[in-house]
Amino acid sequence: MHLPWTTKYRPRRLSEIAGNRDAIDALLNWVKSWDEQVPRKKALLLYGPAGTGKTVSVEALANEYGYDLIEINASDSRTGDAIRRIAGMAAGQAILFGKKRIVLLDEIDGINLSEDMGAIDAILETIEKTNYPVILTANNAWDPKIRALRDVCQLVEYKHVAARDAIPHLKRMAAKEGVDVDAEAIKLIIERDEGDMRSIVNDLQALSSGRKKLAYDDVAWLAWRDRKENIFEALRMIFSAKNCLWAKKAVDVADIDYEMLFEWIYENAPRQLTDLIDRANAMDCLAKADIYLRRVKRRQAWNLLAYVFDLMTAGVALSRERTKPSFVPMKFPERISLMSKTRRIRGIQARVGAKIGRRCHISSMSAVKYYLPYLRIIFENNYETAAGLSRYFGFDEEDIAHLAADESSGLKIEKIYARLTS
């Protein structure tokens, strides 16, 4: 079945939506409050970036709690008259029997003022007269053209979905489709799509198609899909060039920014040049290119960039004197995948370091060096002391989990910690 996963797995209940718990609770409470009495502000404006679950949470709520959803979105005609006709009817008519209603005006910041004449007035009118909850959504609540609407609405913010909220949903989804996805691979997709669930699910589906397993490296290639051939061509030129000009052409052929090209050359040069002397010379050229690159950046000396190129292309190319030709496949720069794989861990480590530093008169970097190894030993072996030290340093759950040997010992430490603080 080729149904898009975004449709197939569209949440039908509020609990199926990833993240934004606070916003969803606020939405639900507000809608429920209509049962008691009509709230002071009769419209709710859900705002936040695309793909954070604004529309879907209204739909899921209507489905779960049995509301009729009357929906007008950007693709419908939204002239003042059209809105009055649909929304006005839905909001105004009191019905004695039958279901309760919610009026949803989707993507109101997409209103084109010159085309949708009178749309804002019509919406304001609808809100004023309504007998049912009116819910608006927008990406940007502070768009000047909807200011009048903002004033009559209660605001609820939706934020980018955090990785830890999204991962369980995505894993379950993929599992249902028979794909085993690495947590690291999911994290990378989430990062790429900046927490936009719709794009994330679409990418996950596209990447998973025809696979049983989706690993980190499968995703790492994502950004390079179209340019892979160019990069490989550029690298081949560098590693086989006999003269400077030819090697330097690689910069144009690669069609990626030069820092990225540097990473590719840096990863592959020692793989391609296996002779000790060749390798040492090539690495030397790269080290010197790096120094020029720092100078370019530090002093904004763009005229020095030419020397960076010379060293990293021609310098590396002409280092090849003794290495015998043989086929060695090119590799994706491991340093880049490692950096994004460990970004979260390094973030926690820096935070733990800063917490130690504050207590122990030391920089966070030195704290990592001088204290962390010992703390790890304590956290692995003595939960009581670990809990006490967690309190001493003000560690949170994530910090404790980072220091503990495994999940279960982390939980044990947290338990003791909770007892200490209560």
Binding site: M283, R335, K369, Y392
Partner: protein, 322 residues
């Protein structure tokens, strides 16, 4: 008894409690007696009492509430010219209101500041010398620019003697009800090499393992606390497995959070212990020194160090052939 980090809990709070570094403490006491002090430069290896001495000096000069006129900045966390220009200036330029003659600003790990930042600092030190005294702490005074050195009274902190370390450890063990064997305490002293913080941290970690700290538990701690093995990385490089060596280097930098400078220092001390012709060692030192210099200049740590590994492998190979 609330759990604490012992190295912090038992940090001396007044100059009188500092049992070692007698010559330095003597000079600092004079500052307290005369209620006057110059800018100071505290240089010495980690764990020898630089920060402690600065804290104690401020305490003895200004009393319990010294924190009002005392500021501690970490050059590693907040390095760069901007910090000197803003934070340091803000603190230094406002005269004290609590009746103390001056404020004290401690700049820890000052040798991690770039030369540009140090020059900016130099001007600040001069301009606000009336209201604020600086104490610069560093491991190597050589990394502090000459104009700053010449404006500071220099104090050289040396590693603690074995007896001093032993005395401190005994006191802490007694207060924390930690039992230890003679072998155990001896092992701690041996691995600490005069670094009091390392000694106390080792003791605390070992005490968390077993009721009694003995030789075994200490070496267990030491084995685990060593984040990664530079020696192993060098052996890989020397045996021609450059890619594995680079992987190891990457791990040390990214996952263990070691600084490139730390690794260079360890490479330096390791290579001199290796069995290669003495003459080659000079060539090695030259290559290592160049890498060290580049790192200080702010070059990419992994790129520079892996280039160094490739170079070292070549030098070692040639040494074997000749």
């Amino acid at each position: 008894m609330a759990v604490a980090m012992w190295a912090e809990k038992y940090r001396p709070s007044t100059l009188n409690e500092i049992k070692n570094q007698t010559e330095i403490v003597g000079r600092l006491r004079k500052f307290v007696e005369t209620k006057a002090m110059p800018h100071c430069l505290f240089a010495g290896p980690p764990g020898t009492g630089k920060t402690t001495a600065a804290l104690c000096l401020a305490h003895d000069l200004f009393g319990e509430r010294y924190m009002d006129v005392f500021m501690e900045l970490n050059a590693s966390d907040a390095r760069g010219i901007d910090v000197v220009r803003t934070t340091v200036k803000e603190f230094a330029r406002i005269a004290t209101i609590s009746g103390t003659p001056f404020k004290i600003l401690v700049l820890d790990e000052a040798d991690n500041m770039t030369a540009d930042a140090q020059h900016a600092l130099r001007r600040t030190m001069e301009r606000y010398a009336e209201t604020c005294r600086f104490i610069l702490c560093c491991n190597y005074s050589g990394k502090i620019i000459e104009p700053i050195q010449s404006r500071c009274a220099a104090f050289r902190f040396t590693p603690l003697s074995e007896d001093d370390v032993k005395e401190y450890l005994r006191q802490i063990a007694k207060k924390e009800n930690v039992r230890f064997t003679e072998d155990g305490i001896k092992a701690v002293i041996e691995v600490a090499e005069g670094d009091m913080r390392k000694a106390i941290n080792t003791l605390q970690a070992a005490a968390s393992l077993k009721k009694t700290v003995n030789e075994d538990s200490v070496y267990l701690v030491v084995g685990r606390a060593k984040p990664a093995d530079v020696k192993e990385m060098l052996e890989l490089a020397f045996n021609g497995d450059f890619l594995k060596a680079r992987e190891k280097l990457r791990l040390m930098l990214v996952e263990y959070g070691l600084s490139g400078t730390d690794i260079v220092k360890q490479i330096h001390s390791e290579t001199f212990r290796m069995t290669i012709p003495e003459k080659k060692k000079v060539a090695l030192a030259d290559a290592i020194g160049e890498a060290d210099y580049r790192l200080v200049e702010g070059a990419d740590e992994e790129v520079q160090l892996s280039a160094l590994l490739a170079r070292l492998a070549l030098i070692a190979e040639r040494a074997n052939q000749s």
